[in-house]
């Protein structure tokens, strides 16, 4: 009997080792190794285990390096209010016993989706207490406020307070809810993108490749590519030594649109295609997403052409129509009925000036000014998640183009208003600007 048990045990062990070994080493589904459901932020790349777990023998420090390798630059540009370097001073040793703030995973544990709060936070949200328990002595206006409201009431963020710091609130405290001539930034034109370059627009007769499909030729001839002198072979056969490629990949787009591609790889649309991932993943599809999407779009793959359309490369289509072709959540469904959408329609029809309209992209893929070798250039940030973590990041890059700061803070703190796509007034007023105005700004 004993021998039989041992035999069964050995067979079981061999079977388990074979199964897990196959899963680990073969090109097979590895979800069996996930120790828990991944968060919304990482689930798309959960099978690229090595993106975070860079070594089987790495500890917390290696994991920290992984966090920083993807999120470090963003935190730096956000002027992170709580960088690791603030907590390495031994004078904070007692605080670290309560909150090990030197490591991202202290507050952002992965594989615990069931207890993950907004912004991927897995700490109880009153964590500010550990260091700021005396805040009411310094700021009597804060007396009686619960520490669970610091970051959840539209007042403070742990990392990014660029639109919420006191002097910024004071500077823009008296802005009207709606600015009289609000506009989104104007995109860089060809001359700004390529200063000094002699660009000759191409007409349909100058296409360097014959096609039997007229619609392709016509779409190209009206596109920005033709206007910029980019011919068929510019994308389909960029090097004479290569063969014609019917469906050029993102790498070809990157040769001219590197900055756009870089931000695309950082967002949820493109992160699965990020060339820095340790393994190759298929493009994102709505079926892989966790938001409500249209069933007919479930298996559409997300690449540059998915939104911009091959050949026509219509940025206006990419700004609304493409988004609503897949997204089917309440906020998206209510867009067409919103004042923002009406302004967008007016801009397209010419009834409103350029930059007066508000498309999906105006807010979620805002036009940002970046430094380039020859100065500054306005381009579209293709990381649709960049200003949603948390949404107060939208204030400076988006809302303040047209709205007053205080109105923007109120609007972004109102979940119902977000659902109905800002088709009403904010239900509640966040008092942070009022508190700043009530406080003397100088000693005199």
């Amino acid at each position: 009997m004993k021998k039989l048990i041992w035999l069964a045990w050995i067979i079981l062990m061999i079977a388990a080792a074979t199964y897990f070994g196959y899963r680990l080493l073969a090109d097979a589904n590895k979800t069996v190794f996930l120790v828990g459901e991944t968060t919304d932020g990482h689930h798309q790349i959960e099978m690229a285990c090595g993106a975070c777990h860079t070594s089987p023998f790495g500890g917390g420090e290696l994991l920290q390096e992984s966090c920083v390798s993807c999120h470090g630059a963003e935190l730096k540009s956000a002027n992170d209010a709580h960088p690791k370097s603030k907590f390495t001073d031994p004078r904070n040793a007692d605080r670290l016993e309560h909150l090990e703030a030197r490591y991202c995973v202290t507050c952002h544990q992965e594989h615990h989706r069931d207890r993950t709060l907004p912004m991927g936070v897995t700490q109880p949200i009153d964590f500010c207490f550990h260091c700021h328990q005396d805040i009411a002595d310094e700021r009597p206006s804060h007396r009686g406020m619960g520490f669970e409201t610091c970051a959840s009431a539209g007042c403070h963020n742990y990392h990014d307070n660029r639109a919420l710091y006191e002097d910024f609130l004071h500077k823009f405290a008296d802005e009207p809810a709606l600015k009289p001539s609000g506009r989104t930034p104007v995109l860089a034109g060809l001359a700004q993108k390529h200063p000094g370059m002699d660009i000759v627009p191409l007409s349909i007769g100058r296409a360097d490749h014959a096609t039997s499909r007229d619609e392709i030729s016509h779409a190209w001839a009206q596109s920005a590519h033709a206007q910029a002198g980019v011919n068929c072979k510019g994308c389909h056969q960029p090097e004479a030594s290569t063969v014609w490629e019917d469906k050029p990949g993102i790498a070809v787009c990157q040769t001219c649109h590197a900055a756009e591609a870089e931000t695309f790889f950082q967002g949820k649309h493109g992160m699965r295609l990020n060339p820095e991932l340790p393994i190759s993943l298929s493009p994102m599809t709505p079926a892989l997403g966790r938001l409500p999407f249209k069933s007919e779009a479930a298996h559409r793959e997300l690449t540059c052409n998915s939104c911009h359309g091959a050949h026509q490369y219509d940025t206006r289509k990419a700004a609304v129509e493409s988004c609503l072709g897949c997204h089917d959540d309440e906020h998206s469904r209510n867009y067409e009925k919103s004042a923002h959408a009406q302004l967008w329609k007016d801009e397209l029809s010419g009834a409103a000036p350029e930059g007066a309209g508000v498309s999906c992209a105006s807010c979620h893929m805002p036009r940002i000014e970046v430094d380039i070798a020859s100065g500054k250039r306005v381009l579209v940030n293709h990381n649709q998640n960049d200003n949603l973590r948390p949404n107060e990041k939208m204030l400076r890059s988006v809302c303040q183009s047209c709205h007053g700061l205080s109105f923007g803070i109120d609007a972004l703190a109102d979940p119902q208003l977000i659902k109905n796509n800002f088709s009403a007034q904010p239900a509640a007023h966040i008092e942070s600007v009022d508190m700043v105005k009530a406080r003397p700004q100088t000693q005199h």
Binding site: N79, P83, K84, S85, K86, T88, D89, P90, R91, N92, A93, D94, L96, E97, C131, D134, E138, Y165, D167, F168, R439, P440, Q441, T442, Q443, H444
Partner: protein, 192 residues
Amino acid sequence: MLKRKSMAVGVALIAGAVSLAACSSGKKDAAFTPQELTDMLHLVMESDRAVYTKQVVNRLKEAGVIKATEHFTDDQTLPLPAQMFRFGSETVAGKTDKFSYSLQSNWAINKQNAPRTDAEKQGLTYIVEHPGENFYTTEELGGKKFFTAVYPDVAVAPVCVSCHNEHKDSPKTDFKLGDVMGGVVIRVPMDS
């Protein structure tokens, strides 16, 4: 000749580094005592800080060229001298744990920069009550022993005084040139 000089500088740097490492690990053959080490570190910090304050911030402000302000990125101005000092401290903190330093005050504008540990509280009070003197002690933090030195931080330029006296969060508004406004706290771990 130049090569020989470079080599000499290199040797000196290596020797210094070895000495500092030995000192921080408490070895008997250390070239410097912890106090000598913190004194030297402070000398560099104090000198750089005074130069930035006088030769950059104060000079350019008086010339009407550019100001130093707290939100220098948004304002497109210069960092305040205290911020410059802190950025250096945070940069060092990101590179080594062989020593750490911070700028603190009993009248801190940001209350997170008020003294927290017993040694800091004693030191900050001592340097104010004993002008011209430093404060040295040892303390245990997070289960580790540290040599802790506190040096007076003096108002070396008119901008120090005006900025602190006028800031809305400043608890003291009657600073004068030459006053001890706070202190530089330098720590060196004593255990390996």
